[in-house]
């Protein structure tokens, strides 16, 4: 006979039923759990996993678009893109801080990323082939992220929830600039239009998949829902994303690469089958640019080691002088 694991029950040996009842009653009352409060070890573990994964996604997410900063075709676009990638660094920073409130350290989280132990959103392992990808990422990838993050802004852990509120307001600008760009190209020269359509063809399905597996196949959902971390299912969030984006993409005059896409009697847009094999292959790093992305992070980390050493040495010296 196998015993249920803490991941399934949420109860770690040493924790009492009273502690859990009290904790779950707080969540039921809609209270936020704060850093110093008692929380189940499994709640802490799941949050560190999710928040650090989210932080890593922001940091790795700087790379696919960052490649285009040096090629942006106007001064305005170059400034906007730099501001956007800068925001992603800022989001990484807030989220690492949110995870630190649970006892994780940035150094450990970074090591977990570089060693491949921690995951990040596999959407960032897709290559960016053209300038229009920058717009499509803003419109679809950030659009999907906003749906997920708006849900997380209501989550039970205070520091994560507040980080999400701030991140969502910046993501809204990212989404807007991406949409503005693609709508302009869809009405631009035939060449610009083709570039926008090609970007949609490549990013539509990855954006759909980034909202996670179907509910029946989502291993972590049970306990996350019970503790108010995850307030909606993957499929519910995906439906919100589709309902918002399909009419807008169609209005822009673009063709969505899903022959089965249709609106049902309730007004919901229904998509055709998703090819999850590709999703899992990208997650496992068998497809996409996993090696390149982690390689770029590793290179930045290694090349920056002497700089961080210098900062530490300088700070130590200043402290020693101040102490004298």
């Amino acid at each position: 006979m196998t015993h249920p694991t803490p991941a399934q029950t949420g109860i770690t040996p040493g924790e009492t039923a009273e502690q859990h009842a009290h904790f779950e009653a707080r969540i039921a009352r809609g209270e936020k759990i704060e850093a110093g409060d008692w929380m189940p070890a499994e709640y802490r573990r799941q949050l560190i996993r999710m928040i650090s994964q989210h932080a890593h996604s922001e940091v790795v997410g700087m790379l696919p678009e960052g490649e285009w900063i040096t090629r942006a075709p106007s001064l305005r676009r170059k400034t906007i893109l730099m501001a956007k990638v800068q925001d992603e660094a800022g989001h990484g920073q807030y989220l690492y801080h949110a995870a630190e409130t649970l006892g994780a350290t940035r150094e450990d989280m970074l090591q977990a990323l570089l060693s491949g132990k921690a995951k990040y959103s596999s959407i960032f392992n897709y290559p960016t082939h053209s300038w229009a990808d920058v717009g499509m990422i803003g419109w679809l990838v950030d659009g999907a992220a906003i749906k997920n993050q708006t849900m997380l802004a209501g989550c039970s852990y205070g520091p994560y929830s507040r980080a999400m509120v701030r991140i969502c307001s910046e993501e809204t600008f990212h989404h807007k600039q991406g949409k503005e760009m693609i709508v302009a190209y869809a009405q631009g020269t035939p060449q610009q239009r083709a570039m926008a359509q090609d970007a949609l063809n490549r990013w539509w399905w990855p954006a759909m998949m980034m909202l996670g597996p179907h509910d029946a196949d989502s291993p972590n959902s049970g306990v996350l829902t019970r503790w108010g971390i995850k307030l909606k299912s993957n499929d519910e969030v995906r439906q919100e994303f589709i309902n918002e984006h399909v009419p807008e993409l169609l209005e822009a005059g673009l063709t969505i690469p899903d022959p089965d896409l249709h609106q049902d009697e309730h007004g919901n847009w229904r998509h055709g089958p998703i090819h999850w094999d590709e999703f899992w292959a990208v997650i496992r790093g068998e497809q996409g640019l996993n090696k390149e992305r982690l390689g770029a992070r590793q290179a930045a980390h290694d090349d920056g080691a002497w700089v961080r050493d210098a900062l530490q040495a300088y700070t130590d010296r200043q402290r020693a002088v101040a102490a004298d």
Partner: protein
């Protein structure tokens, strides 16, 4: 006393157009080099800070080129994306590859200090549109100077390795810095009429400021600068590939009207 655009003579207008282009070119090229760091900086906080500085630089370029446009210059994107290396008038200082973090920070310090001092003087320009731009840009530039001066200090006084790298960067960059103070054709007349700052005076203040920081505070050694500088119309081999990359997308779409 302020001068309105209509009061500029043709010669003054041409000289001012040239000066604004020179200023914008330095900003565009340096912002490009700094943009190469975004996502690859030694610490996350610096991905944020340097991207911010680069955005300010692009913003300043936009201010200069928009003013140039009112004087008969071309559309700013036309100027940035459709001129080749023979027409760019940036200094060699800003076009050199980004190098290591010490190289980037020393370059930024040399550049930011010169820009901050020039802008501060330009706030007193008798040509109101320029004085207004300078007043706006100088506020940002003061933050850049604070940030890069502190970085240079931390690196110069950090570890033996960081000190060695910082000195190596200064040794390589210093000979190029004087190009920042080369006047454009017709600049003397603009200075005489109070439209542009006295570049020699700015240069003297800059030399004093950077010597105090780099030598007295950070313990670095200033190498000898060459007696003469090449003109801004001659470049190193690094500018052409930079522009090729920067202008690639824009030039693939010659008919595009909107970006």
């Amino acid at each position: 006393m302020t001068t309105t655009p209509t009061e500029l003579t043709d010669t003054q207008t041409q000289a001012l157009l040239l000066k604004l282009t020179v200023l914008a070119d330095d900003e565009i090229i340096l912002a490009h080099r700094n943009g190469e760091w975004t996502g690859h900086a030694p610490i996350l906080e610096e991905d944020i800070a340097l991207a911010n500085i680069a955005q300010d630089e692009l913003g300043h370029a936009g201010l200069y080129l928009s003013l140039a446009q009112t004087l008969g210059g071309s559309d700013p994107d036309r100027v940035a994306f459709w001129r080749g290396p023979d027409d760019y008038l940036n200094t060699r200082l800003v076009e050199l590859p980004k190098g290591d973090w010490a190289f980037t920070m020393v370059r930024q310090f040399l550049y930011d200090t010169s820009e901050a001092l020039w802008l501060e003087a330009a706030t007193r320009s008798t040509y109101a549109p320029l004085a207004e731009i300078a007043a706006k840009a100088v506020r940002e530039e003061k933050f850049h100077v604070q940030h890069t001066a502190l970085w240079v200090e931390r690196l110069a006084l950090g570890t033996p390795e960081s000190e060695r790298r910082t000195q190596a960067a200064l040794t390589e960059l210093w000979p190029h810095a004087a190009q920042l103070f080369q006047p454009v054709e017709g600049e003397a007349e603009l200075t005489a009429s109070g439209i542009l700052p006295d570049l020699n005076a700015v240069h003297a203040r800059w030399s004093d400021l950077v010597t105090r920081h780099l030598v007295d505070r950070c313990g670095l050694t200033l190498p000898d600068a060459p007696a003469t500088q090449p003109g801004r119309d001659t470049h190193t081999e690094h500018l052409a590939p930079l522009l090729e990359e920067m202008q690639r997308v824009a030039r693939q779409h010659p008919d595009a009207e909107v970006w």
